[in-house]
Amino acid sequence: MLMITCPVCGAEGDETDFHCGGQAHISRPASTDPHNVSDDAQRDYLYIRNNPKGLHREMWMCARGCGKWFHAERDTVTLEFKSYYGITESAPPSSSPNPAASKTTKKKSAGR
């Protein structure tokens, strides 16, 4: 059972108190350039995921606390949370991203 601390309101709880929103920092091409989104880009946005064995950056929501979304770095093998950061923050440089995923390790929304 994952134990999670919400970085927004400080609520502590287990995974039933939170909601996992999947991979973080996926950019939505239509938000930035609605007239010029290739089929490739749209496919990557909708379906292609990092899915690393190890450190993974995710979106989570404090479903039973403040209702706010936040970012977390979590190890998908040991399931340990390594860090939390704000939903509008970009990925912390401290940890090394999955090299194969580098092209999409951008913030979910550009310009923030």
């Binding site: 609605p34 989104v37 089929d39 040991t78 399931l79 929304s109 923030r112």
Partner: protein
């Protein structure tokens, strides 16, 4: 002592015989219909021993007679069923079932009875049915497997399930602690004491009814007194502390990630009368522990020799526990067979209690531990370098008569002179395995310890700290020191305590110095061949050493393959007595050492936990949440036929006495068409959006445009997911420039509110909009039909419902017969229709007021089915019926609601993908069957070309089909390939009864195409 011939007198020897027994009271119980007696403190196993009953069950595969081997959770043989009718529970370990007055127990897996079990015949054919035999046979003829399987299934299984629902209750409990100590033996208590002293909130759990573990059956003194005295005083101290919670009859069933533990507390199993006062039978605890101390002790290993499963062979520790704790003798004359010092404690305790002991047989040639010397000094006959090689039985294998003993040398065949020793029980010890199960549930790794010849925690895993025997520490002083230090250290980690400790903060202890253990994995039988003599490794699943060797020989060499091929360790005891011995046997078969062979994964739970406890309070009428609308009681009183929709219960229809469902639905439909109907639409999702960017947000989440909507007006909108498929629909009303009220489908209410929040927080955090779900604030009723306006005008109020003042798709706020309301002129039936919302606590009353006002206008309540037919007559879609997650608005002919001007909205780009933009997709059409009386079945498929038999190419399916009382014929909506270009075509629907229904493709609006009825 009449009736309990094996009960020993109280307080013989060192004064501990039957330590926990209340001999002043007798308890009546039954086993296989036979009335027996025991005493408070007994388990079923100890009481059966006392009554001289050794044969307690039959084994899984060969149906061999079996008796009690152990004294606790590791018991593989003595599985019984307890209780009757709805309280009947199979597969209970007799060693853990506490005796209560009137307990009814039965043996299992035998027919017609335990003594003359017909299944014993399997034993005769055992040579034909080695491990994995079923993979090699039962294949001919092909169709016969189900026939063979029928018999295999009936032969398998152990006990039987209850025949009636369970009358008992269960519940869950949550707890948070700084330190969870698992195991209330000496190590656990020492750890708890130091952790509590450091200021931590400590929970201590033990599976037994009593704390103390093996303190009453181990040698060694604490503070120069017997261990039980220290246990007693420590328990008293801990019980008096504010920061400690002690739990007995509670197993730590599972350890999960992040130090989350599952405990099962057996609340009433030892005394079912507690249930009458409302106690749950079991309570499942979900514990968040900052630190866990694992003081789970160790489990003794049996020894693998010929016929080592006969009733009367038991673990050495169990033998002395039965004597010391329960005051019963395991037999009339015993032999102790060991490879280590600990079993000498059994020899000493038995001798002190006056149980005759023929011999201690020790495989070691020169055992030198202090207990060995003590035994010799006590006059116990010890033979060394010898082994028990076989067991002679009478009573069809159910009773031991003697054992064979012969010189033993590891790795070679038994040679030399063989001796027969008369005895009726054999106490065996092959050493001890640390109980590492909990440690391994999540990620803890173990390593092989040469001294223990077993696996112990490798301590690299910092969530759980093992102490004492669970950590391979057996010397009493070392154990207490380790536990005490650990308790303090983990408490410090958890609460940051600064309490200083000195060495004198822990009790001093002493215990006899033990000699070295000699590993023994297999004792060959004497004679030319071992074959024909079964050497059991896994007692419960009848896995023998030969089975393991066969698996290895056949190439199943991974320990997981061997386990699965032979079913080793997969029985209800999960291999507690067999795992290490099996690895030992495999060292020979695989020619590699135990650490290289590896061990299988331990899975939760430690011992099985009841499904009832897992369900907890959420059973029966509390199984799942039920949501009620404000007029719920009125619906009940008026015979509503409810249907579950999400968590809600909504009236499907309201049958009058004598009505069929069909009658009721038709009546309700016609009342809307001809007079007026009233629908409880309170479940409709309602979300308020406020802020300067509210209109902008709506433009992004709907396919059509809302920024142009005028205040007081509403617009129907479609919502897509990012893949471009229809997800929700509804009417959104502009309450003010920066303020909207969105309606969603009933099922979508929570999901859509969450969806809007997610977009606002994660993608468009620059938009200033607050989203507040208000579904529950408002009761909402649709009043539909030609008389709707008359009914509303019948009521006092300040809203002008006239056609000129209150236009279609607009809303007004005001009062109706005093109640504050929001009134919307919208229609899902095609009739003149309003929806009236009022705060929920007035909902019931307004509902009654509307019915009363409509009484002279023929008003009737209508349910969800009439609603569905009414909308289908008008060709309106229902998300989830006409759409199924693969359907776009264009497929549904709703292109008019999809903006071509907007740069972006959710799903827009995906709609342009090749497959979604392709021509000739399935499109929504209407269908008229050639026989107007024939209603197409839901979901029926049309085919491109009729054939005699399948397969046939399918070109689309019915999405909704009803009998329409309004148009007096059947109607249907369907998604048909290229349907809009095929209006007028006749398509075939081959049904399952062989019939083919022919239907003409038409426009999907069947009633009032011009919309005249709603615009009055």
């Amino acid at each position: 002592m009449s009736g309990q011939p094996y009960r020993l007198p109280a307080n013989v020897g060192s004064g501990t015989t039957g330590r926990i027994l209340d001999r002043s009271r007798r308890i009546a119980f039954s086993f296989d219909g036979k009335s027996l007696s025991g005493h408070p403190g007994d388990t079923v196993a100890s009481a059966l021993f006392a009554n001289g009953i050794r044969l307690v069950g039959r084994s899984f595969k060969y149906h061999r007679p079996r008796g009690v081997i152990g004294s606790g959770a590791d018991e593989p043989n003595a599985l019984i069923s307890v209780g009757e009718s709805g309280r009947h529970e199979p597969n209970q370990r007799a060693t853990q079932v506490e005796l209560y007055d009137g307990l009814v127990s039965k043996s299992q897996n035998n027919w017609p009875n335990l003594k003359f079990d017909i299944g014993q015949i399997n034993s005769k054919f055992s040579r034909l049915i080695p491990a994995g035999f079923y993979y090699k046979t039962f294949m001919w003829p092909q169709s016969a497997w189900m026939f063979y399987e029928h018999f295999i299934r009936n032969a398998a299984g152990l006990g039987t399930a209850a025949s009636e629902p369970d009358p008992d209750t269960y519940e869950h409990m949550h707890a948070t602690c700084d330190v969870l100590v698992v195991g209330g033996g000496v190590a656990g208590l020492a750890a708890a004491q130091s952790a509590a002293a450091a200021g931590a909130r400590v929970m201590v759990v033990d599976e037994c009814a009593r704390l103390g573990g093996l303190a009453d059956s181990s040698s060694g003194l604490i503070e120069s007194s017997p261990q039980t005295e220290w246990v007693q005083s420590t328990v008293s101290t801990l019980a008096a502390a504010e920061n400690v919670h002690l739990m007995t009859r509670t197993i730590a069933a599972g350890h999960y990630h992040h130090n989350w533990c599952l405990l099962l507390e057996r609340v009433t199993d030892h005394d079912p009368s507690l249930a009458i006062q409302g106690a749950p039978r079991h309570r499942l605890w979900k514990v968040r522990a900052n630190q866990i101390v694992m003081a789970t002790g160790a489990l003794e290993r049996p020894l693998t020799f010929a016929n080592n499963d006969r009733p009367g062979v038991l673990l050495a520790s169990a033998a002395r526990i039965y004597v010391n704790r329960y005051g019963v003798s395991p037999g009339r004359r015993g032999v102790v067979f060991t490879n280590n010092d600990d079993a000498y404690q059994t020899a000493l305790d038995l001798t002190r209690a006056g149980v005759p002991l023929a011999r201690v047989v020790d495989v070691r040639t020169d055992p030198r531990g202090e207990l060995v010397e003590e035994a010799r000094a006590a006059g116990i006959e010890v033979v060394t370098g010898m082994a028990v090689t076989n067991v002679d039985t009478v009573a069809a294998g159910a009773k031991i008569q003697s054992v064979k003993v012969a010189p033993y040398k590891a790795g070679s065949r038994i040679g030399g002179r063989e001796e027969r020793i008369e005895c009726d029980f054999v106490a065996v010890s092959g050493g001890w395995n640390p109980a590492v199960h909990l440690y391994c549930h999540t990620s803890g790794k173990v390593k092989f310890d040469e001294d223990l010849q077993s696996f112990k925690p490798d301590r690299s895993f910092d969530q759980i700290t093992p102490v004492g025997a669970a950590n391979g520490t057996y010397d009493l002083d070392g154990l207490i020191s380790e536990a005490s230090n650990t308790g303090a250290a983990v408490a410090k980690k958890a609460v940051g305590s600064k309490v200083k400790r000195s060495k004198s903060d822990r009790p001093l202890a002493s215990s006899p110095k033990a000699g070295k253990l000699e590993p023994v994995w297999f004792v060959p039988a004497t004679g030319a061949l071992n074959e024909g003599n079964k050497h059991f490794v896994d007692f419960q699943n009848d896995v023998t050493a030969a089975d393991l060797e066969l698996a290895a020989r056949e190439g199943y060499r991974s320990v997981e393959h061997i386990k699965r091929y032979t079913t080793l360790g997969m029985a209800t005891d999960q291999g507690k007595t067999s795992n290490i011995n099996a690895l030992g046997v495999l060292t020979g078969a695989l020619q590699s050492a135990i650490p290289q062979i590896g061990t299988t994964t331990f899975r939760p739970p430690y011992t099985p936990i009841s499904f009832g406890a897992i369900a907890g309070t959420n059973a029966g009428n509390r199984f799942l949440v039920v949501r009620r609308t404000p007029p719920y009681e009125w619906h009940c009183e008026n015979r509503a036929d409810f249907e579950p929709i999400g968590q809600w219960r909504r009236p499907y229809c309201y049958p009058k006495p004598g009505d069929s469902r069909h009658d009721a639905i038709n009546r309700e439909i016609l009342s809307v068409r001809n007079e007026v109907g009233l629908l409880d639409a309170s479940t409709l999702g309602k979300i308020e959006l406020k802020g300067p960017d509210a209109a902008k947000l709506l433009d992004r989440v709907y396919t059509n445009t809302f920024s142009t909507l005028k205040v007081g007006k509403g617009r129907y909108g479609l919502m897509l997911n990012e893949e471009g498929f229809l997800m929700d629909d509804g009417v959104t009303v502009r309450l003010a420039d920066d303020h909207f009220l969105m309606h969603t489908t009933s099922g979508g209410a929570d999901r859509i509110a969450g969806w809007l929040e997610e977009w606002l927080q994660t993608e468009w955090s620059d938009l200033k909009v607050y989203v507040t779900p208000v579904t529950e604030q408002w009761a909402q009723f649709a009043i539909a039909g030609p008389n709707a306006r008359n009914v509303l005008e019948n009521l006092d109020g300040d809203i002008d419902f006239s056609a000129d003042s209150f236009e279609f798709m607009s809303m007004k706020v005001g009062r109706l017969t005093g109640y504050p309301v929001r009134a919307f002129r919208i229609s899902f039936s095609g009739e003149l229709s309003y929806e009236i919302a009022t705060p929920s606590n007035f909902g019931h009353s307004l509902w009654l007021a509307l019915l009363e006002a409509g009484e002279n206008h023929g008003i009737q309540a209508y349910g969800t089915e009439a609603l569905h037919v009414l909308r289908a007559e008008k060709g309106f879609i229902v998300v989830g019926d006409e759409s199924d997650g693969t359907v776009t608005p264009l497929d549904l002919g709703l292109g008019w609601a999809v903006s071509k001007k907007k740069d972006d909205y959710i799903g827009k780009r995906s709609l342009e993908r090749a497959y979604l933009a392709a021509p000739k997709r399935k499109q929504l059409v209407g269908l008229l069957t050639q026989d107007p009386q024939e209603v197409l079945p839901d979901g029926a498929y049309a085919v491109a070309e009729l054939k005699d038999k399948p397969p046939m190419e399918m070109i689309g399916q019915v999405t909704s089909a009803y009998w329409s009382p309004t148009v007096g014929r059947s109607i249907a909506m369907a998604l048909i390939k290229d349907g809009r270009n095929r209006l007028g075509d006749v398509v075939d629907f081959p049904l399952d009864n062989g019939k083919v229904v022919k239907a003409t493709i038409v426009d999907p609006v069947f009633y009032d195409k011009e919309g005249a009825k709603q615009n009055v």
